[in-house]
Amino acid sequence: MKRMILLLFIATAIFGASSYAYAHGGGGVVDAPTYVRQSIAFLEGTSNVAEAEERINEALELNGETVNREMLMQARQALADGNMEEAKSFLVQSLGKQSATAEELALHPGFKGDAADYAVIVLGIVLIAAGGLFISSSKKNVSHRNGGISHG
């Protein structure tokens, strides 16, 4: 019995951990802007239109001037029309931000096709070619032996 109690005590001590650290600053209030951001996250993450629409509706239900309701309604309409990119743009604008620079949207860098890009491509090709030459031209230095080392 004592052993059982001791085991129980140890298990409680081990698994009954104390409070856990925050990923960031702590709690917050779910307000209209947060619902809008959640809506954007659903569209960005998994193109989940149903969840995104639900969040827009939640934001619209909250009375307040923290978001632009007209933009929200346009976003909802854009989603209904199947235009996700436009919806995201309206959602960002409902927060009073420009969609081109908003941190609420993912940043998608692409191939710019400028001189720097081409320079890097050329350098990359040169490195690959040099590596290929290095691999194929490394001198063979072969000796033939039977019954070599075995560590099977």
Binding site: T46, A116, N141
Partner: protein, 483 residues
């Protein structure tokens, strides 16, 4: 004047001088011919990727701020305003992908070829440690970008850490009170894990040298042709050039995106490809499934050399274990594809908002903290206590900000923050009063008085500072009520 033979020898050129002093001839030892094949160079290619990761990582760290408020933004600045910033990030990203692919292939090659057999069991264990070290680096790297995917991944880890109790100490607030987890992840990614990997790597390479290259599984006991190890190194340098060129081109054509700043309260992403297989298991079995499968993988890898104890590494004599390994790999593939096509599930209750007093709802962090991990044994009372403790921590953070504003004689900012403090307290006042009405009254008195003083046209900074100290003390006392 007579010539000194020693001087004559040393005048053969810089190359000879350097080779002599670096004892390069020490690398001219024989290895089996198969050691110079691509399959036996996978570990070396992983090492080259790791070196690229260190170089680019050091550069990236110069522009990164490891704080939740600014981390994502700092990467945006790097990508849009720093010359070649996006390129360096792209190279880092692609080198990481290649490192993970090659380390997995290397592990599989060693497993299929039976290269873990006597006397290489410990080297296999070092290799398994390296594999998990690299996985840790990959995971912490995905956290640092601090987008929705990172946020949710960290929340999952917090919830998992809670499940394992004291073993998840790294994620407990008491480990480094007040330090955001993101900052700890940065420390893990840039110092702890790289040092661990480098240490294990040193032992791994030393044992490869001392125990020599393992024989082929269809040619045990007869290694045949030999080549020099220096040729292996030259080839690796060649692979290094090819790899660097390839990641540069990939970084230009397929630069990695950066997700939006995270928002709490939802689970809307999937993990990177490396973790998709355990994500599938988590979809079905929740966090215990995730933890269990990860532990099972670790145990299975550790057990390999002790289960397969036959002397020969010949494939014909190891059909059972190799088949088992192949099934495990196929299963991982299947689970990965399943997760790729499946929708993200709610694993840790992030999507289920919990209404709190005064319109407060728990954020993802709060819910993770409270351990809502697939109906784990947490009572509603415990969850509420954790949430209130979180709000009290929040209040303490606001108090620090008021103090900074007062120190900087920015009384307007201090007044604004005092109003915020008032709001934070009002939302949880009832809950504190339910535990200890005196404590609640104490806080209310100090916080409201502080607000009144700072709202005056010419507030008395000294008096405000004094009240702030009292507020801090009373809130700290209240925190203890919810621990």
């Amino acid at each position: 004047m007579a010539k000194n033979p020693a001087n004559e020898k040393s005048n053969k050129g810089l190359g000879t001088w350097v080779r002599e002093r670096l004892a390069v001839s020490g690398l001219d030892y024989e290895v089996p011919k198969h050691a110079n094949t691509l399959l036996f160079s996978l570990g070396g290619i992983t090492l080259i990727s790791f070196i690229i990761l260190i170089v680019t990582g050091v550069i990236l760290a110069q522009f990164y701020t490891a704080s939740p408020d600014t981390a994502n933004q700092s990467i945006r600045v790097l990508m849009t305003e720093v010359k070649i910033g996006a390129l360096i990030r792209g190279i880092h990203f692609w080198a990481a992908q290649i490192a993970m692919v090659t380390v997995i292939l290397h592990l599989l090659r060693v497993f299929i070829y039976g290269s873990y057999k006597r006397p290489r069991e410990i080297n296999w264990l070092l290799g398994v440690g390296l594999f998990f070290g690299m996985m840790g680096l990959y995971y912490t790297g995905t956290i640092l970008k601090w987008d929705q995917e990172a946020f949710e991944a960290l929340a999952h880890t917090q919830a998992a850490a809670k499940l394992v109790g004291v073993f998840g100490f790294m994620f407990a607030d008491s480990f480094a009170k007040g330090v955001p987890l993101l900052t700890r992840m940065f420390s893990l990614h840039t110092s702890v894990l790289p040092l661990l990997v480098i240490g294990l790597l040193a032992g791994h390479l030393l044992l490869v040298k001392l125990l020599q290259i393992s024989p082929l599984p269809w040619n045990s006991g007869h290694n045949g042709s030999k080549e020099m190890f220096s040729r292996h190194l030259k080839k690796l340098v060649g692979y290094g050039f090819v790899l660097t060129g390839a990641v540069m081109i990939l970084a230009v054509f397929l630069p990695p995106k950066l997700g939006a700043v995270p928002v709490a309260g939802i689970e809307a992403t999937k993990p990177p490809w490396l973790f998709l297989s355990i994500f599938s298991i988590e979809n079905w079995a929740g966090l215990p499934g995730l933890l269990g499968s990860a532990a099972l993988l670790a145990l299975a890898l550790i057990a390999v050399p002790f289960v397969d104890r036959a002397v020969s590494n010949n494939l014909k004599q190891r059909k059972a274990i190799v088949t088992l390994g192949a099934v495990a790999v196929l299963l991982a593939f299947g689970l990965t594809i399943n997760a790729y096509v499946a929708k993200p599930e709610q694993h840790i209750g992030m999507g289920e908002e919990t209404e709190q007093a005064g319109g407060q709802v728990s954020t993802a962090d709060d819910q993770t903290n409270s351990g809502q991990a697939d109906n784990q044994a947490e009572t509603g009372e415990d969850e509420q206590a954790t949430l209130i403790a979180a709000q009290l921590d929040n209040a303490l953070a606001v108090i620090s900000e008021i103090q900074s504003a007062l120190d900087g004689q920015n009384l307007a900012a201090a007044a604004e923050k005092a109003a915020e403090l008032d709001e934070v307290f009002d939302a949880i006042a009832d809950k504190i009063a339910a535990k200890d009405s005196d404590a609640a009254a104490d806080i209310e008195e100090h916080v409201h008085e502080l607000g009144e003083i700072l709202e005056k046209p010419q507030p008395d900074a000294a008096e405000a500072s004094n009240l702030l100290g009292h507020s801090r003390e009373s809130i700290e006392a209240a925190v203890k009520l919810f621990q």
